[in-house]
Amino acid sequence: MDKLHVKLQVNGKPVEALVEPRLLLIHFLREELGLTGPHIGCETSHCGACTVDIGGRSVKSCTVFTAQANGAEITTIEGIKGADGGLHTLQEMFREHHGLQCGFCTPGMITRAWRLLEENPDPSEAEIRQGMAGNLCRCTGYQNIVKAIRAAADARHAQKEAAE
């Protein structure tokens, strides 16, 4: 089968590659680009550990062909950072509120929560739970994950007010 020439932006950097059409995006990111933040959990589009952002949408990269993402802008957990290059507010708050235990689901959780807060900067607890419904934590640490996301929303709000 002919390989396909793909061009995309990954974490702000242009990437070009020749790929088999059947190459799943998660495998391209992890094996070709060495971005091992997005994890392979269930491989059946349930767990959300492989979540990346494609053109402003949270997507399970185990269920997308690299070919489909040709031309798209992709952000993985490696591309989510604070203004100073350190931890992003969400990452700080996951640490502060013990929003991770084993850590396996965390890259997907934070990547999804990042898009959720972009779309809804002030979500209620119910909206956070609905918005995070596509990410599973097998440590069942949901309570603190929800707290961490709410705390990140508060912190971002405070940062904005301080800046104004």
Binding site: R22, L24, V59, T63, V64, F65, R112, M132, A133
Partner: protein
């Protein structure tokens, strides 16, 4: 889980997609959001030699109103449907169903066209479309035709769509102002298909039910439009006796199978509960001025 290999096509318009479909016949599959097809390809239960990705076809996107019909491009995602003010105002049943599909990530990419064209009895929109008496526009080499959702589903994964046709638009009649609606779905977990689900659309005038449409999801090899169940409500005050009659008619129309969502009797029980609650919820909403 690595899918089999295939050639990838990304046509720019419907005509080019139709030509590819004609050229490759049953070796080709249409790729919309891919969240039903790609899992099947990973399991090697689907092994198309050609994938025709519709994402670049601008004409298949968007939602518009054409008189008393809502016209939805097949590549409109569930996420877009949920956020669309026109849908919320004109056909809120669509939104009520879409928010119950899968999870946020899947809704960002899953499309209305894929959901109705796939023919999976577990999909939610086919029953909803039967309830609303929607039609599907199919585009093939001979032009376009419209098929009613109530006549579209023939067997599991078998529909009235011909191999060389593409489902291009979903056309939904806007229910009368004041219609009551509900989509009630029982599922084991977020992301699962329904154990049983009920779509209900009611017209109520002067306290009496003037029209009623009922369809059920995942309780047979196809969605079940329970015509007799709706008819049992018309002319009543939607009292308990009318509900019992509608439920009895619905139970006569479904044909669930035992699987990992439970035995037949359990599914019939859940179907009964979903329909009872859906009728009550729809009745509570009827007459409030917005359809």
């Amino acid at each position: 889980m690595i899918p089999g290999n295939f050639a990838y096509h990304r046509p720019a318009d419907v005509a080019a997609a139709a030509r590819l479909l004609q050229e490759y016949g049953d070796e080709a599959q249409i790729l919309a959001g891919g969240h039903s097809l790609i899992p099947m390809m990973k399991l090697r239960m689907a092994q198309p030699s050609h994938l025709i990705d519709l994402q670049d076809i601008a004409g298949l996107k968007g939602i518009g109103r054409d008189g008393d019909r809502l016209v939805i491009g097949a590549m409109t995602t569930q996420h877009e449907l949920i956020g669309d003010p026109l849908v919320a105002e004109a056909v809120p049943l669509l939104r009520a169903a879409a928010v119950q599909i899968a999870d946020p990530q899947v809704r960002y990419v899953g499309t209305i066209g894929g959901n109705v064209a796939n023919g999976d009895p577990g999909n939610d929109m086919p029953g909803v479309m039967q309830c609303l008496d929607a039609s599907f526009e199919l585009t093939g080499p001979g032009g376009t035709r419209e098929v009613r959702a109530r006549a579209f589903y023939e067997a599991a994964f078998t529909t009235a769509r011909a191999e060389d046709e593409i489902l291009t638009r979903v056309i939904v009649p806007v229910p009368k102002a004041g219609s009551g609606y509900a989509y009630l779905k029982q599922k084991r977990k977020i992301g699962d298909y329904a154990t049983a689900a009920a779509a209900v659309l009611l017209g109520v005038e002067n306290g009496s039910c003037a029209s009623a449409a009922i369809a059920m999801t995942n309780l047979a090899a196809t969605p079940v439009f329970a015509e007799a169940a709706g008819a049992a409500l018309v002319g009543t005050t939607l009292d308990d006796a009318a509900m019992d009659a509608a439920i009895a008619a619905m139970l006569a129309a479904i044909d669930p199978a035992t699987d990992n969502r439970g035995p037949i009797e359990f599914k019939r029980h859940v179907a009964r509960q979903m329909l009872r609650r859906a009728i009550a919820e729809a009745a509570g909403r009827a007459g409030r001025g917005t359809a």
